[in-house]
Point group: C2
Chain length 228, copies 2
């Protein structure tokens, strides 16, 4: 008996849900200013919108206390996330998009595609579980694969790792990562690790690369064993 009204959400609402979901997911509380910053809006705008979203039952809101998605809101967020990631996967796989240029395109399309189209794209790709950044794609029921995730700087010297996930949408970072030969699936060995958040040196095939700590933290890997 859930109110399954033809819940067409506006582009704006979808963006708010995505942002709140993402912020919460990172462990931060979804405060007004955090949301505003994420969406590039002024805090008063967020304050107002958040009230409307609460009225629609998409989130719980107590003035001055921040915001939390309801089940309905979370469902909405996961739907958009699924759309976004399938679109990214499709564009890279089938239309020759590069890793670092898909994001914006997906950002626009995710608000316009029908559920039918998303499922056709997913089928065409064999219902992948991860997108080109290595992010898990929510399934239609809202569940999703949990990616193993050791940040690259946490891997010990001498260990071998596989890059699984690149937690960045910044085109420049993505281009750099691609340029050194890294993408989800790439196997590497940690050659050196500077202490105090210093850079990590890794070997990919025959070449060594130095990865700064900030960027390295965004590279989620699985430790695959001791080097030879």
């Amino acid at each position: 008996m859930t109110a399954l009204t033809a819940d067409e959400l506006t582009t704006s609402v979808e963006d708010y849900l995505k942002a709140i979901y993402a912020i919460t997911r990172q462990g931060h509380p979804a405060t007004t200013s955090e949301i505003a910053h994420w969406l590039n809006l002024s805090p008063p705008s967020v304050s107002g919108m958040v009230k409307r979203l609460a009225e629609q039952g998409l989130l719980e809101y107590q003035p001055y206390k921040g915001v939390e998605l309801t089940a309905k809101g979370r469902r909405g967020a996961l739907t958009i996330l699924r759309r976004h990631r399938i679109i990214e996967a499709y564009l890279v796989e089938r239309l020759g998009y590069s890793w670092d240029s898909v994001h914006q395109e997906a950002e626009r399309l995710e608000h316009a595609v029908s559920e039918v189209l998303i499922e056709r794209m997913a089928d065409a790709l064999g219902n992948p579980e991860f997108d080109p950044h290595g992010d898990p794609i929510p399934r239609p029921d809202g569940s999703m694969a949990e990616a193993t995730s050791t940040p690259m700087p946490d891997i010990e010297v001498g260990q071998e790792g596989v890059l699984h996930q690149v937690r960045s949408n910044d085109a420049e970072q993505l281009r750099f990562i691609a340029s050194v030969g890294l993408k989800p699936g790439t196997v590497f060995t940690v050659v050196a690790q500077q202490p105090f958040h210093g850079p990590t040196t890794i070997r990919i095939g025959d070449t060594e690369q130095v990865i700064g700590h900030e960027l390295g933290s965004l590279l989620r890997c699985e430790v695959s064993g001791e080097q030879g």
Copy 2:
């Protein structure tokens, strides 16, 4: 030195341009009420919007006199039309959409895709000149193939024809057309033609089909010669 401002048009504006272009193309003057009818809006809404479009230099407007697209407006309309038709072609060709179900999907996507994506889809399809309905796809420069176009009822009995273009977006009509074995490229022979806008009887392969006059007029064909 044309004002090439980052002319992002809103969905609404794009729809107005498309409608005005289509109306004009049919030989009718683009009057306020015609546009309103086409877009399912009230005449006052159109009246207001048309003024804004004129301010943006997309059309010329004289109160009580109707509307005409400027070169800039026409360019906009053709861009959308190109997007629409390439999207339709892509969805049918690559994602298994049926002929009669693509229209709405394209209607939503055409406002969200980037020029880059359109060109990638077009390339993937080999830069087709016609969409699945047989409508010519405007080229990036705005030119387009002129379809030969004899309405089916105008073909004389005994003549053979090839269906080129189906000028309908009505899902039911399209389903019917597909169900009798007609689609762009289908070869048929006219077996009978009732006078006074009566139905046309055609033979496709071994079977005969009767096509009402109204529907037949939407079927644009090329006469390919005398039957055997």
